[in-house]
């Protein structure tokens, strides 16, 4: 069973699988995002409280979800690489970080633009946005640590350890921010998000979530191939991969 697993995680295998999977992920994500956008922006009814401003959720929520998913992926891949010494895990973690960080920025910008009509200001230290901001800082830390070492293997392992420490901390950070927010603001500020949705609003959202995940898969595959090439420059199989 282990030999099978190691072959699955071998760089050439991963390289070819990623190459084959990219167009599938990409085309399916275009379909899902296309349906979600049209159904969400055109056909879904406006929210009874927020009007059409609630439609921002169709881009905000998938970005926020992806920012956390990419961080978890990064920590999991790093953990696997650290514990079982499967080097491909470091490549996955390194590929995942910039994608996750970019969607964290997207979630922050869209959340802030959503906040303007809801709160009357672009930034109200809403607990979810504050946690998102700290998540961005965590990404920055991991991304700054990896290239800081002269020897790449060491940077990979250090970044993996830091991302695991971060993943343990994320729930603590989130709950402390919620506690802090309730201490200072009370419940006067409307929370972003729509608690109960009818199907006509929910299905487009789920489709957008799926589409963003597929898009993440596609971009991860492309970046992963680059990371694998960078790490395996001496290997014999790279010669054939480059020619193809």
């Amino acid at each position: 069973m282990w030999t099978w697993f190691y072959r699955l995680a071998s760089p050439p295998y991963v390289y070819w699988v990623a190459a084959a999977a990219t167009p599938w992920f990409l085309s399916l994500s275009v379909v899902a995002i296309g349906y979600g956008l049209i159904a969400g922006l055109v056909f879904a009814p406006p929210d009874y409280q927020q009007g059409d401003a609630f439609r921002i959720i169709y881009v905000h929520a998938p970005s926020a979800w992806l920012s956390m998913f990419a961080y978890t992926t990064m920590a999991l891949a790093g953990g696997i690489a650290l514990i079982w010494r499967i080097k491909i895990g470091h490549a996955v973690a390194a590929a995942s970080a910039p994608i996750g960080a970019s969607f964290t920025v997207a979630a922050l910008v869209t959340g802030s633009l959503w906040g303007r009509p809801m709160w009357g200001t672009y930034w109200a230290w809403d607990p979810r946005l504050t946690s998102e901001l700290i998540l961005l800082f965590l990404y920055v830390g991991v991304m700054a640590l990896r290239p800081a070492f002269e020897e790449p293997g060491r940077g990979d392992r250090a970044a993996a350890l830091l991302s695991i420490v971060g993943v343990v901390n994320i729930p603590i950070i989130h709950y402390s921010v919620v506690w802090w927010n309730s201490l200072h603001q009370g419940a006067t500020v409307a929370r972003l998000g729509v608690p109960k949705m009818p199907g006509s609003m929910l299905w487009p959202l789920l489709s957008m979530l799926l589409g963003f995940m597929l898009f993440y898969g596609a971009v991860l595959c492309i970046r992963l191939r680059g990371e694998v090439l960078n790490r395996e420059r001496q290997s014999a199989w790279v010669r054939e991969a480059i020619k193809a």
Binding site: L41, V42, P46, H60, V219, R223, R225, R233, I242
Partner: protein, 57 residues
């Protein structure tokens, strides 16, 4: 084609459309940056291989 009500988003147009635009830009940037990252890695590997070949010759 489509009613002006759609584009005005019930008066929230100046919040909704920048959000959609920004997220679209992030998606596009990701695709572009990933492709560039891969292309750079490929050229680097090719150069390293070429150098190894010339050393062997």
């Amino acid at each position: 084609m489509m009613s002006s009500g759609f584009w005005s988003m019930g008066g929230y147009a100046r919040f909704v459309w920048p959000c959609v635009g920004f997220t679209g830009a992030v998606l596009a940037w990701n695709l572009w940056a990933a492709r560039r990252h891969f292309a750079a890695a490929r050229t680097r590997s090719a150069r390293a291989l070429a150098m190894a070949a010339s050393d062997g010759a």
